[in-house]
Symmetry: C2
Subunit: 365 residues, 2 copies
């Protein structure tokens, strides 16, 4: 544990292993089977390690999402993950409203096993819940010499091009691919210009938000943070028709086709506001690189591509041109050794959660 000045607030460094054990203990206490709790805790803490702070313990998603939804009965902690339909290269799974974090791990493992045996594995999941940071799952494939793909749909909060009612969620797409010496390729992008959590964070800073990430109630882009948070209408990646918003919108709907329609769960716009509101569908895929070419040749060419990009001249105000996965890799190296930086307010929330659930908090004083 150490303190770190970051902006005006001191962060408290907490060991990632300890945080993982804590999260697993909390989930187990709430009735999640130990194996699933361990899987889920690893997904959560990985988000913190990789700097995806909106999706991990740094944001207390454990308490704010998973514990809350288990306690309210929305997430069924012991729901089985059942196979609906299966071929050597595909499967449709039903998470039966269980924990999305562990359902995601099991589904991606299944895709990886299918790819090991048959070169490709593709698994869709219905009736699941929020699965955390998408890159956890895509990156699971990478140490196996595979390209991994993961995606999930979510409640509608993003406007279509030319519309004023949200029709799809921030619907992320993540792809991981193995490099050699360079950090592995890791794409993890929402299909909106900005995710809502980051919008709220920006809003808290009291500054204007960039014009092109959110709209007012009539669908007109706004730079007023209070108007944006009130309206809950994000803009697609591409922001406006002139800058290609139909591309971000189309990619968001693609996620709905794969996660919502192929799984049968339903697209974002088909999610009812009833008792299962918040349930989602996922899509996972693993592709064995050596089905196409030897893995070491693939890795060598990945390294060379990254190396060439790194050597290009940065624009004014930038130190270095990065590739997808570079920032996450740097954060992970640093946080594995120095611990995960938590806001004091979050530490307080986690202590309170520990008390509520009846689990020991021993990671800070």
């Amino acid at each position: 544990m150490a303190s770190e000045g970051q902006g005006s607030e001191d962060r408290i460094r907490v060991d990632s292993g300890g945080l993982r054990t804590f999260a697993a203990d909390v989930l187990t206490k709430l009735g999640v089977p130990p194996e699933d709790a361990t899987m889920a805790a690893d997904v959560l803490v990985y988000a913190d390690l990789r700097g995806v702070e909106t999706h991990g313990m740094s944001n207390n998603n454990l308490g704010r999402i998973y514990v809350r939804d288990i306690q309210s009965g929305k997430i069924k902690p012991t729901a089985p993950l059942t196979v609906v339909r299966e071929t050597p290269v595909t499967a449709l799974l039903d998470a039966n409203l269980g924990l999305g974090l562990s359902a995601g791990v099991r589904a991606m493992n299944m895709a990886i096993e299918k790819a090991r045996d048959s070169f490709i594995g593709m698994v869709a999941v219905k009736n699941s819940h929020h699965f955390g940071a998408a890159q956890y799952f895509s990156m699971m494939a990478v140490p196996h010499g595979m390209i991994g793909i993961s995606s999930t749909n979510s409640n509608p909060i993003v406007l279509p091009t030319g519309g004023r009612e949200p029709v799809y969620g921030t619907n992320p797409i993540s792809v991981g691919a193995p490099s050699g010496g360079e950090p592995d390729f890791c794409l993890d992008v929402g299909t909106s210009a900005m995710v809502f959590q980051k919008l709220i964070l920006t809003t808290r800073l009291g500054t204007e938000i960039p014009l092109g990430v959110a709209a007012d109630d009539e669908g007109v882009p706004t730079s007023d943070p209070s108007v944006a948070v009130e309206a809950r209408k994000l803009l697609p990646l591409g922001s406006t028709p002139e800058l290609g918003s139909h591309k971000g919108y189309g990619l968001g709907m693609l996620v709905d086709v794969l996660c919502g329609i192929l799984s049968g769960h339903g697209a974002s716009i088909q999610m009812d506001a009833g008792e299962n509101y918040g349930s989602v569908g996922h899509f996972f895929c693993a592709i064995r690189v050596d089905a196409f070419r030897p893995l070491d040749e693939f890795q060598g060419q990945m390294d060379d591509m990254f190396d060439r990009v790194h050597k290009t001249e940065p624009a004014r105000g930038f130190d270095r041109v990065m590739v997808a996965g570079d920032p996450e890799h740097a954060k992970e190296q640093e946080r594995r050794s120095r611990g995960i930086p938590l806001l004091p307010a979050v530490v307080d929330e986690l202590k309170e959660l520990a008390d509520d659930v009846g689990v020991a908090w021993t990671l800070t004083g």
Copy 2:
């Protein structure tokens, strides 16, 4: 044949079937085997039918790209498409510097056949050339009850986030998926904010270009069309770091991973400026919907999603909220019956091409 006022210029309507025969005749005359020439012509005219005018006969890509490159020896008209590596669900093909249009059709057909037998088919192609409009190939899968994916890399012309040297091409991603009564889903998006051809077109109109689609030589976004065309530095989808340009950049590099590295062709930034400059790699995938759920249920849920989106209220200045594939479908319906609108200058170019190559032009007076 009919005339149509469009802006200040009259367009000449030409029958799509006649245009297809003409394109095939030209390619055959240049030594392309008749079956390949027919495939290639269908890809070209499909782009015109669907309104992708930058990629079809409307832009005289036949003369400006394919005939030119066959005549210069860059495209080898009789190069075989050979299988380098194959499994029941995957293949790596070598186009041996042949025509990308027909190589794309053959590769996608192979992906579809593999999916028919084994539920998924994934085919990467190296040493190919410009394959035209990506959506031709993804949409080939749709009548088979499959989701189709197609992609290609291309010469670097797009800046990375934080950079001032282009590192990837406009690298498009296309996905087609079957609906029931509604037009089929058709995503076809470059991973830059705007494609270069459209930038040139905008420039010809003499107006400013939107800030966020192109940069000056130092990588700073510009609204000056002449500066933008001179610099040849497009911005990624997402335009600026504040609006999520790292997402478009990451998606563009994903295309390079699938088309350039998985195929072994090389990523955009690895394309040398030597004699094979302009050669590219492709990626195709077909997924049988009924591996996951009955096709009619999938189609019904697609229709319902589209219907719900269509029923949402449009923003000011828009008549109707559309989904990916709607504009293309409308254009295709109209152009199949009324013909393809060509600029008089393009008709002149095609007549000249006919003369040069020794093929009859009988489609206009």
